[in-house]
C-alpha cells in the first residue's frame, strides 16, 4: 500500500485523476483510495499534517511492505520552479529527522526546513509547512526508509505567486517522477514472503494445541526450517493432532515437531 499525504486538493487532484481514486470519509478527513493507494488531504501546517497522518496510519495500520510519501510544494532559493526534490533531512526549529534514502535515483536530494508560516525571506534550504509533522507521526508506524518526501519547488520565496492552477500544473508535470520513485522504492525494499497463506494456517492450527511458550519455540523452528531448507512446511511431515492433547502428550508432540523441523 502507498500512503500519500498531501496538504491541498489542488496538489492532490492530478494524482486522484491519474490513479482514479475514489473519495471516502475517514473521521473528519477526506481520503481518496483505490486498491494500492490511500491519499489523505491534511491541510496546511505541522499540527494538521501530524494529526492527519496519525489518523490515516492509525486507522489502516501499515505493514513493513508499505510506503508513505508526502508530495507537495515548497519554496526554495536558486532552484528552478517545477524542480522535484527528494528530502534527506527535515528540520523544525532545532530538531531534525532523517528519512533513509537507500535506493538509486536521479532526483536532486536536499535538506528541508519545515516552517510554521509561509516564508518570504530567502533561506538556503527549501521550506515547506508539513513534512516535519508527517515524519513525526509516521515514524510511530514506519521505518525511516519507508517514508519519502517529494517536494516540488513552487516559488523562490514568493509564496504569493502560488495559485491553485500552478499547484496542479507543477504536480502534473512531476507525476512521472512520483511513479518512478514509488517503483524504485518498492523494488528495493521488496521483501520475500516467508510463509504462504497455507503455511500460516498450518502454523495457526498446530499452535492452537500449544502453550504460548511452546508456540514461540514451534514458530522459531518453522522459521529455521524455511530459511534452512527453503521448502514448504507441508513437505516437512508435521501433522496437526487429531484429538486434544494431555500436558505430557503436548510436551512430547512439541519435542517431535522441533526435532523434525530443525534436524
Amino acid at each position: 500500500m502507498i500512503y500519500l499525504i498531501i496538504a491541498h486538493y489542488a496538489e492532490a487532484e492530478p494524482i486522484i485523476q491519474k490513479y482514479k481514486l475514489k473519495r471516502i470519509h475517514l473521521f473528519a478527513y477526506t481520503v481518496f483510495t483505490n486498491d494500492d493507494i490511500k491519499l489523505i488531504l491534511c491541510k496546511m501546517g505541522i499540527d494538521n499534517a501530524l494529526m492527519a497522518t496519525s489518523v490515516l496510519l492509525g486507522h489502516f495500520l501499515p505493514t513493513k511492505h508499505d510506503l508513505l510519501i508526502n508530495i507537495g510544494l515548497c519554496g526554495a532559493n536558486k532552484i528552478t520552479v517545477g524542480q522535484a526534490l527528494l528530502i534527506h533531512k527535515i528540520t523544525y526549529k532545532n530538531h531534525s529527522y532523517f528519512p533513509d534514502i537507500l535506493f538509486e535515483h536521479s532526483l536532486i536530494e536536499t535538506d528541508l526546513i519545515t516552517s510554521d508560516t509561509a516564508v518570504e525571506s530567502i533561506l538556503n534550504s527549501p521550506v515547506d509547512m508539513e513534512a516535519y509533522g508527517i515524519y513525526k507521526a509516521a515514524s510511530k508506524f514506519l521505518k525511516a526508509h519507508q517514508m519519502l518526501f517529494l517536494k516540488i519547488v513552487s516559488d523562490n520565496f514568493e509564496p504569493q505567486t502560488i495559485t491553485k492552477e500552478l499547484a496542479k500544473q507543477l504536480i502534473t508535470k512531476n507525476l512521472e517522477k512520483l511513479e518512478n520513485i514509488i517503483a524504485l522504492a518498492k523494488h528495493t525494499f521488496k521483501k520475500d514472503i516467508i510463509f504462504s497463506v497455507k503455511e500460516k494456517k498450518l502454523i495457526q492450527d498446530i499452535s492452537a494445541y500449544l502453550t504460548k511458550a511452546q508456540t514461540d519455540t514451534f514458530l522459531d523452528a518453522c522459521y529455521y526450517y524455511k530459511f534452512h531448507r527453503n521448502n514448504s512446511l507441508h513437505v516437512s511431515n508435521i501433522k496437526i493432532p487429531i484429538t486434544r492433547l494431555t500436558k505430557q502428550q503436548r510436551s512430547s508432540y512439541v519435542k517431535q515437531l522441533i526435532q523434525t523441523l530443525t534436524s
Binding site: 538509486e104 536536499t110 522459521y223
Partner: protein
C-alpha cells in the same frame, strides 16, 4: 545553514555521508569527503541522531550502508567481552574506534546490538590512544576489531595502521586485529611486531556463501594469511564460530585440512576453535530481522548465553581438535566453551 543541494548521482558505497558539525573541519573528515566526492553530505549534531534512531531497518540498510563521521566522547575503552578470549592478559580491553562493519554476516552480534547497519568512524583517534596511557604500566591487550573489521575498512582512515604504529611506541601495548578481509597489503609495508597478532576468521566456502555476505572468499583469506606469515607476522586463525548443521562433517574438517595445506602449521601462532554462541538479548533482536536460520536454531540458554547444547558443542570441539592436531600441537590450539 549551508545550501546542501547535491547533483543527482548513483548510489554506491556510502551514498550518504553524515557528518557531525564539530568534525566538519577535521583533516580526516576532509580527506574522506574527497574520497567520496559523489556522496551526499548531511550535517548532523550528534552521531547518535542517525546511528541510534529507533525506526531503522538493519536488513534494508545492510544493502546500502552509509557512513557517519563523528567525534567519540568517553568511554574510549571497554573491558574485554566474556564471549572472547583475553589471552591471559591482566588488562584486556576493546576499543570502539569504528562502529559497524562493512561486511554483513548473518550470525554477527552487531545486528543484535545496533539499531543501524551504517558505519560510524570516529575521527579523533588520538583520544583513544590517550585513554590507554594510564593502563600501559603493565602488559595490556587491546582488541581493535570487535565492533567492526578495521582491515576491511582500512582504506577509509588507515585506522589499523595508526594503531600498529602507536603500539610500536608503547612496549606494553599488545593488539589483536581480527579480520575476515584479504587486505593484508594495507599493513604490509609495516615491519612485523611481536606485540601484534593478526587474527583471521575462516569459514568453509559454503558457509561464507550462505552467511558471510560481502566478505572475501576462503582462498583470498588464505592467501592474505600466507602473505602475513611470509612477512613474519604473528597470525592466529580462528575457526570460530563454527556453524553447526547436518553438513558439519563435510564442511569443517576439510577446512582444517585446507588451512594446513596452504599454511605451514609451525608458522601459525595459534588456532582458535569455538562454536556459535551469543548473548540471548542480541539473538532475540536478530530474530526480529527474520533473515537467517542461524537465529532460529533451538539453542540452549544458560546464564543469558545461547549456544548449541553441551553434547553438540563438545562434539564440534572434539572433531575440530582431532582434525587440527593432525597438523598442529594441542598447546597451540585455544578453544571457547561455555563453562
Amino acid at each position: 545553514m549551508s545550501n546542501n543541494l547535491s547533483k543527482p548521482s548513483r548510489a554506491s558505497l556510502f551514498s550518504h555521508l553524515y557528518i557531525e558539525e564539530c568534525v566538519k573541519n577535521n583533516l580526516l573528515t576532509k580527506e574522506i569527503i574527497q574520497k567520496f566526492s559523489k556522496s551526499k553530505i548531511i550535517y548532523i549534531k550528534h552521531y547518535k541522531d542517525i546511528f541510534n534512531r529507533p525506526n531503522q531497518d538493519f536488513s534494508v540498510q545492510s544493502k546500502s550502508k552509509n557512513l557517519i563521521l563523528a567525534k567519540r566522547e568517553a568511554p574510549f575503552l571497554y573491558k574485554g567481552s566474556f564471549y572472547s578470549d583475553g589471552f591471559e592478559f591482566e588488562n584486556f580491553f576493546y576499543t570502539p574506534s569504528i562502529l559497524g562493519c562493512l561486511y554483513d554476516c548473518e550470525y554477527c552480534y552487531l545486528s543484535g546490538m545496533y539499531n543501524s547497519a551504517n558505519n560510524v568512524l570516529f575521527v579523533n583517534t588520538k583520544d583513544f590512544f590517550n585513554a590507554l596511557l594510564p593502563h600501559l604500566d603493565k602488559p595490556t591487550l587491546v582488541a581493535i576489531s570487535y565492533d567492526t573489521d578495521t582491515l576491511a575498512i582500512e582504506f577509509l582512515a588507515h585506522t589499523t595502521k595508526q594503531w600498529i604504529n602507536y603500539a610500536k611506541q608503547e612496549h606494553n601495548l599488545h593488539l589483536e586485529i581480527r579480520t575476515k578481509s584479504a587486505n593484508f597489503k594495507a599493513v604490509s609495508s609495516i615491519k612485523a611486531s611481536k606485540q601484534i597478532v593478526l587474527a583471521w576468521t575462516l569459514s568453509p566456502q559454503k558457509i561464507i556463501d550462505l552467511y558471510e555476505h560481502k566478505t572475501p572468499s576462503l582462498n583470498a583469506r588464505l592467501k592474505a594469511i600466507q602473505e602475513a606469515i611470509d612477512a613474519n607476522w604473528q597470525v592466529r586463525v580462528s575457526i570460530d564460530p563454527v556453524i553447526y548443521n547436518e553438513e558439519f562433517l563435510l564442511l569443517y574438517p576439510p577446512l582444517v585440512d585446507k588451512l594446513f595445506t596452504v599454511i605451514q602449521a609451525n608458522k601459525l601462532f595459534e588456532l582458535t576453535l569455538g562454536s556459535f554462541r551469543m548473548s540471548a538479548t542480541h539473538l532475540k533482536r536478530i530474530k526480529k530481522l527474520k533473515r537467517s536460520d542461524i537465529a532460529f536454531y533451538p539453542y540452549e540458554v544458560n546464564n543469558g548465553i545461547v549456544s548449541y547444547n553441551k553434547s553438540i558443542e563438545q562434539y564440534i570441539l572434539d572433531i575440530m581438535i582431532k582434525q587440527a592436531t593432525k597438523y598442529i600441537k594441542k598447546e597451540k590450539i585455544r578453544t571457547w566453551q561455555l563453562q
